[in-house]
């Protein structure tokens, strides 16, 4: 009896893992490889790794060179971003809050700018002192929030019946998608100042946001266009027959529906943007990866590459996974709606 049960369980196990001889072989090799990797990693973690570069610099990783006594400001901002993310995933019962969530999201930008730059009673801090995770988040949030409306606009322009509008936006979108991001960022950091009149200066963080916005909006435009093409034509017809005019159809029918359809693609854009802010470390901003590189340049921590990279990778991974989970949840909710 007992034996039979074991046999049955074993059979089940075999059914799952060992389907045929090729699979047998593969499974054994994989299990072996995983075992070796674990052993090696464990050995390294216990014996060889030195985490001083990470542990002594946590505040630097989060806030960069932001003045020490002012670090509560980026902290508050990041916390309020987290809160609003949470509220978007698990919407509260109060209807007024749910209705104003979009406004709250948009409000995050002025709030962040106020908290980081200061002014109006709190000490001003120049953007050159922004760094670490704070800067990474600032770049991501601002660029994506600016790129979304521009991307929507471009998508509609590309569908426009006016030849000139259509051509200009197509050229813009296609050429932006053809060039590498680093070239656009290079343009933002080094060349934009050459195109500005004398005396007009935009600081480097804003130039980076500008370059990211230019780049991402072209990609968002294509995602939205895909969403627009997926909306059945009958939706527009029924909106027309209700007497809605052109702008009202765009506002109440096309934009919300295309956003809903494009949501998975849009999340991928935001996740990609978040990761790509790391390119700014090549172009002289000390965001999360940049601060890691600066810390590695400190003679005290030389050679702790693996530890710093693993630490950075896990920070990026955790945040990106959270974003992805959030998007999945939203998608599920919107599917009914």
């Amino acid at each position: 009896m007992y034996l039979k049960k074991i046999n049955k369980n074993f059979k089940k196990f075999r059914e799952i893992l060992l389907l045929n001889s090729l699979n047998n072989f593969l499974t054994i090799i994989l299990v072996f490889a995983i075992f070796i990797t674990f052993l090696q990693t464990f050995n390294w973690l216990i014996v060889n790794s030195k985490w001083t570069a990470v542990t002594t610099n946590i505040p630097l990783f989060v806030f960069g060179t932001f003045p020490e006594d002012q670090r509560w400001r980026p902290f508050i901002w990041i916390m309020s971003l987290l809160t609003i993310c949470f509220l978007s995933i698990v919407p509260p019962k109060w209807k007024w809050l749910r209705k104003n969530l979009l406004i709250a999201w948009i409000g995050m930008i002025p709030l962040g700018i106020f908290l980081l730059y200061g002014g109006f009673g709190i000490q001003t801090v120049m953007s050159r002192n922004f760094g670490g995770l704070t800067l990474t988040i600032l770049l991501t949030v601002c660029s994506s929030m600016f790129a979304l409306p521009i991307g929507i606009g471009l998508a509609f322009c590309r569908q426009s019946s006016l030849f000139v509008v259509k051509k200009l936006s197509s050229i813009y979108i296609d050429s932006m998608r053809a060039v590498p991001l680093i070239a656009v960022l290079f343009f933002g950091q080094l060349l934009i100042p050459l195109f500005l009149p004398l005396g007009l200066e935009i600081d480097s963080v804003w130039r980076a946001i500008f370059a990211f916005t230019l780049f991402v909006s072209a990609y968002i435009a294509e995602d939205i266009r895909g969403g627009l093409q997926a909306i059945p034509h009958t939706q527009i017809e029924s909106a027309k027959s209700l007497g809605l005019n052109h702008l009202q159809i765009i506002r109440f029918i096309l934009i919300p529906q295309s956003l809903r359809i494009a949501l998975p693609a849009l999340t991928n854009q935001v996740i990609g943007l978040f990761q790509n802010t790391s390119l700014m470390s090549i172009l002289g901003l000390v965001e999360l990866l940049g601060i890691g590189r600066s810390i590695l340049a400190n003679p005290k921590f030389i050679g702790q590459y693996i530890e710093v990279y693993i630490w950075l990778a896990s920070v990026y991974w955790i945040i990106c996974t959270l974003l992805a989970l959030m998007a999945k949840y939203l998608e599920k909710r919107l599917k009914i709606a």
Binding site: I16, L190, L191
Partner: protein
């Protein structure tokens, strides 16, 4: 009436656009004069006076900047081509693994995809280079002179690759393969369930069914996704600069540093990438057409 209105609207937009571009160019010219930078391409013919460790064609520092750019361009193409092939192979394996029935394989491949996609490529490249290759130290892998991997790079059947190239090549391939894997999986999923059932009921083996029934039908859905991943791969190859590989962007960077010709170098960079993009897109379109033609015959 309507047509006039539309015409004038477009005219106004064009004028506004030209005006904006004009203002920007005017600013640029003022700035170029003010900073004595000027604008010309004569410097392309001057000697580069920097050496390159990696060059497919002969190169010495007394060769011109233009020649250096060409070398950089060849280096870029080399890494793009290598990674393109390798990432496709890896991507197909990953994509098929995700549809596998073996739960272990399925889980590992899905973990691989999420992990690779959820960390920045730049960080991965640095990891491959500084930890992966340079961290090898004296412990190197040596399979009886066929494949050697150590701090000096990869040696494979006498073909030796520098660590910079190897790290970039592996980093790009691994990163892109995760995306290609998703594209392939998406393509396979897009084939109707009935097709699977029907080839199974015909007694075809799982592998034959996949190769002869499912994949040909999945291809039209796969090709566009694959094209955009190849384009991304080409664009991402510019991150070479972070790990010391002399690709087109890195050489542009060096030249800007030496000559201060940021605008001219930027224009060259943009043009080369437009050409590269167009050629990849055209090639993939031809492949697409070929496949579609074949499909018609099958049908």
């Amino acid at each position: 009436m309507m047509r006039y209105k539309r015409f004038f609207l477009q005219l106004i937009i064009i004028l506004l656009f030209i005006g904006l571009v004009g203002i920007l160019i005017n600013n640029l010219i003022i700035n170029l004069i003010r900073t004595d930078l000027g604008f010309n391409f004569y410097w392309l013919l001057k000697p580069a006076s920097f050496a390159l460790s990696e060059h497919a064609l002969p190169f010495s520092p007394s060769d011109s900047y233009a020649w250096a750019l060409l070398i950089g361009w060849i280096n870029s193409l080399k890494v793009i081509l290598f990674s393109l092939i390798f990432s496709t192979i890896l991507g197909i394996i990953i994509g098929l693994s995700r549809t596998s029935k073996n739960i272990l394989i399925k889980k590992i491949s899905s973990f691989y995809i999420t992990f690779i996609r959820q960390t920045p490529l730049l960080l991965q490249l640095m990891f491959w280079y500084f930890v992966g290759f340079l961290g090898l130290k004296n412990k190197f892998i040596n399979f009886s002179n066929i494949l050697k991997i150590n701090t000096q790079g990869i040696e494979f059947f006498g073909l030796s690759l520098t660590p910079e190239f190897s790290a970039l090549f592996i980093g790009l391939s691994v990163f892109t393969s995760a995306f290609i894997g998703e594209v392939i999986r998406g393509g396979i999923i897009s084939v109707e369930k009935g097709q699977w059932e029907s080839f199974r009921s015909l007694g075809l083996s799982e592998r034959d069914g996949l190769i002869k029934v499912i994949i040909p039908q999945a291809l039209p859905a796969i090709i566009p996704g694959l094209t955009s991943q190849y384009l991304n791969l080409a664009k991402n190859s510019t991150l070479a600069i972070a790990i010391g590989y002399s690709d087109i962007y890195a050489i542009n960077d060096t030249i800007i540093n030496q000559t201060g010709r940021a605008i001219e170098c930027f224009i060259i960079l943009l043009l080369t990438f437009l050409i590269l993009n167009l050629s990849i897109t055209n090639l993939m379109e031809k492949i697409n057409k070929l496949i579609n033609k074949k499909q018609i015959y099958i049908n």
